[in-house]
């Protein structure tokens, strides 16, 4: 496909409805519902986690809600609940629309989605009960991993069919990134199952494996899903071609080839053979070219932040944070800054912003654009979409400012040995309150989207009735 445009409108024209919209409608809506419910649950845990930062006594009498457990549950429900379900839907949908063929294997995908969600729920229960693995971003306990691995592989099958059945052999950037993400999740879960859970390496070798897996999931699964959506929506919603599209292929392969090496930059300064973090930093330097290409291809959308199209405004937020966090990943691992930024809230902020600042807005843009095309119904409450954007964007900004402010203040105090270490955290209260406010706003925004989605799912008049597939 070429990057040409068809202008988005709130009510889909029949001509803009593709075979996948009608054949995979049920599966897509199911996955999105699961995704948003997990976003609500994960967002609630993120809020509890954030409140515990400035009010340590919050839920302190419950062993189920220790700060460490809440963090693990928050991370798991956001990554494997929200990102995974939304990712399944986005991959199937985008590959299906660009491929042009009716969806195949939908029944299997639905079953796999249900089992995937049972697996995530099981993981959350095990974590609350204290089965923490301690592996950042891959906190999934052994009891849940086999189910998650199998169901993720099966859930990806529809995406694979959509890729294989494509009418046009030439592919578009969205298809590369969506196919990459569908491929990476089961693979990395198999590494988590075998090398982290079943036969964990001893000593810090396991930390290296866990970092490779966890950071790899952020760089090669979460980010590609966001990029797939953004590459799709840019020409659709702006009516313009992606600038310098010929560079997109290089951007993709740079991420695939150097992304998996970059994760170990997080280990800089730690008890590891020095070549391991050094490789990570070197790969991160090369990855700057990938971020530069994304800036050239999708950067112009940032100018739409104050525009009228809600899809583009969400897109602007996503691209902005993707570029900022891409550069921040390298900057935080450079030796002059490591002493200042490592082990502060700045690193906490980076993970959360990847999920809430990069992935989520890209998915919202896709949801607002694509759901009416699958259901044949316009969004019930247009006003809620605008409010959702405002709450979400303000929320992300507050989270970023709160964590970065707290992190920077923390690091200056860390260097003052006359200040008792335990006295530092209470002085950061104002910053951390901003983060809690941001997470609260986002929860409200999520409810707005759920209300709108509820109307989309509810039975009612659809312009697609009558079988125009």
């Amino acid at each position: 496909m070429t990057a040409t445009a068809s202008t988005a409108s709130p009510v889909p024209a029949t001509a803009d409805v593709r075979p996948v919209d009608t054949t995979a409608r049920g599966a897509l809506l199911l996955q999105l519902t699961f995704a948003l419910l997990w976003l609500l649950a994960g967002g609630t845990f993120a809020l509890i986690h954030s409140i515990q930062l400035h009010t340590p006594l919050f839920f302190a009498d419950f062993s189920w809600f220790t700060f460490g457990r809440v963090q693990a549950v928050m991370e798991t429900s956001l990554l494997y609940g929200w990102v995974a379900n939304a990712g399944f839907a986005a991959s199937l949908w985008l590959l299906g629309r660009l491929g042009g063929a009716p969806a195949r294997g939908v029944g299997l995908t639905v079953v796999a989605t249900v089992f995937w969600n049972i697996g995530v729920a099981l993981a959350v229960i095990l974590l609350i009960a204290g089965n923490l693995t301690g592996n950042a971003l891959v906190q999934l306990p052994l009891g849940s991993l086999p189910l998650l691995l199998i169901s993720s592989a099966i859930a990806a099958s529809s995406a694979v069919y959509a890729w294989a059945d494509r009418r046009n052999r030439e592919t578009y950037a969205t298809q590369w990134y969506a196919a990459l993400a569908s491929f990476v999740l089961p693979w990395f879960l198999s590494v988590a199952l075998t090398m982290l859970a079943l036969a964990p390496d001893h000593g810090v070798a396991e930390t290296v494996a866990a970092t490779w897996t966890g950071q790899g999931l952020l760089l090669l699964w979460l980010a590609p899903l966001a990029l797939a959506a953004l590459y799709y929506l840019y020409p659709k919603a702006t009516g313009r071609e992606v600038p310098c599209y010929s560079l997109a292929k290089a951007g993709f392969w740079l991420l695939v080839v150097f992304g998996p090496w970059a994760g170990t930059r997080e280990l800089v300064g730690g008890p590891f053979p020095a070549w391991i973090p050094a490789l990570g930093v070197a790969a991160s330097i090369v990855l700057l070219v990938h971020y530069a290409i994304i800036a050239v291809n999708l950067g112009p959308v940032i100018g739409q932040f104050f525009g009228r199209s809600n899809a583009l405004r969400f897109g602007a937020l996503s691209v902005f944070f993707y570029l900022v966090l891409g550069v921040a990943g390298l900057v935080c691992s450079l030796f002059p800054l490591v002493p200042w930024l490592q082990f502060t809230y700045v690193s906490e902020a980076r993970t959360l912003l990847m999920i809430l600042g990069v992935f989520a807005p890209a998915m919202f843009a896709a949801i607002y654009f694509l759901v009416p095309r699958a259901t044949g119904k316009p969004w019930a409450a247009q006003g809620l979409i605008t409010q959702h954007f405002r709450f979400w964007a303000l929320g992300v900004l507050l989270i970023a400012v709160g964590f970065v402010g707290a992190g920077l203040q923390q690091s200056t105090l860390f260097f003052a040995p006359n200040i008792q270490f335990t006295q530092i955290d209470p002085t950061l209260k104002v910053w951390l309150l901003l983060t809690s406010a941001g997470l609260g706003l986002q929860l409200i925004g999520t409810v707005f989207l759920l209300v709108n989605l509820g109307y989309q799912i509810a039975p009612g008049a659809s312009t697609l009735e009558g079988g125009n597939s």
Binding site: G68, G134, E170, V184, P200, G269, Q410
Partner: protein
């Protein structure tokens, strides 16, 4: 890109290469690290956690303590770790060879605990002090009261009761988990200086 097989082969190859280069290669190198035998002391280092302290490590992990406390000291000059008295030398891979999933941590809301054992001794903090702190909490750290039991005093208070006022006729008794956790914390130390952990001499001004 038209050729799907080539596309998937490329993606597979690129990721597999990094899996081999990072995960397998580091595992190969780290798994070869042996305990260090000090001929003068006729002693192997590091020690292996044993007994109640080993159980305490499980409590530490299960409670998620690593969400606020790190257990890795960075080399002098890289940050404030030595300024804060957390360790005179950097942590090295050999320190962790007996551990499965070492709780290195990523955030320092509380102090680093790598050398908590010797530090507690220096500050005169014994088991009772630490259990009391665990029960009461401190600035920035929540109390872990669910690791204790409030019991009625029958006759004389138990010798394990915390020296705090639990209300008339009551006493606070630490659970086995609380005692294991404190035993683990008191056992934490990385004070033996391996050859690879010798602090580097800081470069003199004008020579570098």
């Amino acid at each position: 890109m038209k050729n799907g097989a080539l596309f998937f082969l490329g993606v597979f190859g690129a990721i597999a290469l990094s899996w081999g280069g990072v995960v397998l290669a580091s595992s190969h190198q780290i798994s070869k690290i042996q305990p260090y035998y000090d001929t003068l002391e006729s002693q192997f280092y590091p020690y292996k956690q044993a007994g109640i302290a080993a159980e305490g490590e499980q409590v530490y992990k299960s409670m998620g303590c690593a969400a606020c406390h790190t257990q890795e000291v960075r080399r002098p000059g890289l940050g404030y770790d030595d300024l804060r008295g957390w360790g005179k030398r950097q942590s090295v891979a050999r320190d962790y060879i007996y551990e499965s999933t070492p709780p290195l941590g990523e955030l320092r809301r509380g102090p680093d605990l790598t050398n908590f054992g010797p530090r507690a001794v220096k500050l005169g903090l014994d088991e009772t002090h630490l259990l009391t702190q665990l029960y009461l909490g401190s600035a920035g750290m929540p109390p872990y009261r669910f690791l204790f039991e409030r019991q009625k005093v029958i006759g004389e208070p138990l010798s394990t009761a915390l020296p705090i006022n639990a209300g008339p006729g009551y006493q606070i008794i630490p659970s086995y988990h609380a005692k294991a956790l404190v035993a683990y914390l008191l056992s934490l130390k990385q004070d033996y200086v391996y050859p690879e952990a010798q602090p580097l001499e800081p470069a003199k001004e004008g020579t570098n």
